[in-house]
């Protein structure tokens, strides 16, 4: 069992408080992604779990043990660093072996483990090479092998894919997901890339300014964001969030005074040429500024009276007209209060179907 529990964690550097009252439970065997903009405290949180950083207050539990005063090497965790942090003067084999030697694993056992692990990550031919003779992807695999060979209960990964090129990153993502399934260990993965978070995690913890904004499954976060930050952080392009004054004239019915902002996902907006009223929709006209053709989908940046709006369409021909009509169903609107929190009680979401990214309106 290696559930990780952070209880009232605080962290300050000198006078500055980076993290305040952080409480989160990372379930055993989950693939949890900590995601947020830079400086949000996600890496610090990971490093505190690893023991590389001492928290200023609170408790960290790994499994059924409070690890507050425990050395990093004794926490039964392994970490993969962004720049891999391979020992440059050691061969691939020595790199993988280093942790085992320190744990006084007998030689025969070490040889067996190294053989087994290097076959999994496909490094058998490179055992006697130095890290600098390897490509980025291979180094990444060495770093993974070094972590795996210790058979830890928890894998901590600090942006391990960000030094790889796009294609390799994609491939490694899939490999990591498979690896997680195979090992069944708890993975904690830090990234600033929301796409990476969505595609890899079975649980996402969104952080901003040292605080957890929302912790949930990827689809739950996408469909049911708790606040404006989450709504805009997850999804490409981000959710359109418009001030009440700007959108009110286009809406039917009343808007409760608690509602400060109104949002809708770019793929929920319908784009038409002719002006024809559709019941239960917010409608406005807009001018197309840019068209991003991504193949199956097209993203339009539009300028309307109520502000700049992004609209995403699927499997439809490119729209060349300058002026278009935008209609957004009322049931797809998200309401936020003055503090940026969701005001769910005023939404007409009971009609909303929880559709995945590819949903949309044909």
């Amino acid at each position: 069992m290696a559930q990780i529990v952070l209880k009232q964690i605080e962290k300050s550097f000198k006078q500055e408080k980076i993290i305040e009252n952080l409480n989160v439970t990372i379930e055993d065997g989950s693939f949890t992604v900590l995601v947020g903009p830079s400086g949000c405290g996600k890496s610090t949180t990971l490093r505190m779990i690893a023991g590389l950083e001492q928290q200023s207050g609170g408790e960290i539990w790994i499994g059924d043990k409070c690890v507050n005063g425990v050395e990093p090497g004794k926490r039964n965790v392994a970490m993969v660093f962004q720049n891999y942090a391979l020992y440059p003067m050691m061969t691939v084999k020595e790199n993988i072996e280093f942790g085992l030697v320190n744990r006084k694993v007998p030689k025969q056992e070490r040889e067996r483990l190294i053989k087994e692990i290097t076959e999994i990550v496909g490094l058998s031919e490179y055992l006697n090479k130095k890290p600098q003779a390897l490509s980025g992807g291979q180094r990444q695999r060495v770093a993974l092998a070094r972590a795996m060979v210790k058979n830890p209960a928890v894998f901590l990964m600090d942006e391990p894919l960000s030094n790889l090129d796009a294609k390799l990153r994609h491939q490694m993502r899939t490999e990591l997901i498979q690896l997680h399934k195979r090992l069944g260990a708890t993975f904690v993965f830090v990234t600033h890339d929301q796409v990476e978070a969505m595609s890899m995690g079975d649980r996402i913890v969104i952080m901003n300014k040292g605080q957890i904004q929302q912790a949930d499954s990827p689809m739950k976060i996408y469909d049911d964001p708790d606040n404006v930050f989450t709504a805009q952080f997850i999804g490409t392009p981000p959710m359109n969030v418009i001030h009440r004054e700007a959108i009110f004239p286009y809406m039917e019915g009343q808007l409760h005074s608690d509602i400060h902002q109104v949002g809708f996902r770019p793929e929920k907006a319908m784009m038409t040429m002719e002006k024809k009223p559709i019941a239960g929709c917010v409608q406005f006209s807009a001018r197309i500024l840019t068209r991003e053709t991504l193949g199956a989908e097209i993203i339009y940046q539009l300028e309307a009276k109520l502000g700049l709006v992004a609209v995403k369409s699927f499997l439809k021909p490119l729209e060349f007209a300058n002026e278009v009509q935008i209609s957004v169903p009322m049931k797809d609107l998200y309401y936020f209060d003055h503090e940026g929190k969701r005001a769910r009680q005023y939404e007409r979401s009971e009609e909303r179907e929880l559709v995945a990214l590819g949903g949309g309106y044909a």
Binding site: A50, G51, L52, P72, A78, A85, Y87, M89, N102, Q132
Partner: protein
Amino acid sequence: MTTASKSIVRVLNVTAMLVLVAIFVIPFLWMISTSLKSYSETVIFPPKWIPSEIMWSNFAAAWNSGPFLKYLMNSVVVSISILLLQFTTITLAAYAFARYSFKGDKLLFGITMVTLMIPGQLIFLPVYLLMSKWGLINNLLALILPFSSSAFGIFMLRQSFKQVQEELIEAARLDDAPEWKIILKIMVPMARPTLVTFALFSFIAHWNDYFWPLVMTTSDAARTLPIGISKLREVDGGAAWHILMAGNMILVIPILIVFSFAQRQIIKAFVYSGVK
């Protein structure tokens, strides 16, 4: 720049370098040449570069003029002991200065740096008195202990320890490596170019040191090569230059061997440090 002016610059460059090389190499060659001449050839004018007869016997004469085996052994023991002691102390000190912040670290490092500015001639008297109080005069320890650490070495090594990525140390911590192993297996190999360079400086300085052994010793039993060789000058009827130069060759050859070895190591070490 035109090709003509380019080649002029090149010619000037090469000429300047040749002059520099000559300044360093000619005295050296002159030493080799003199060490192989007979006495009469050392004093003839105009001087001759190539001796008419190669006198290997000069080396034997120099070697047999005193307890040279003893001198050589003393030199070896002193230089190597100093080196080993310095490696131990500067590695530990540099690691502490580079990687830890503790109370008074800046002050201690400042004091360490200040010692660089104090010449040995200024402190030899108190050190002599100390050694004499400990009864170490005419003991090799008096030649070794005062050099058991090096501020210069601490400074150099601290700089290269500071350049080691923090993540490497963190990775080692997560690999359950004890502190001594982090120093020995991660930091020291990463700082190899610095250590080799420092070793070379230190070895040459203490191998050639004349002043300190002269002050601290009075008997041949504890004297080193440079003193033995300087005694070759004290021959009746003027200096026997050919013997003296043969003695100098005996002094220099070990350094040449060490240097050629270290040079290869330095190049190798620089290739090692290509981290990314």
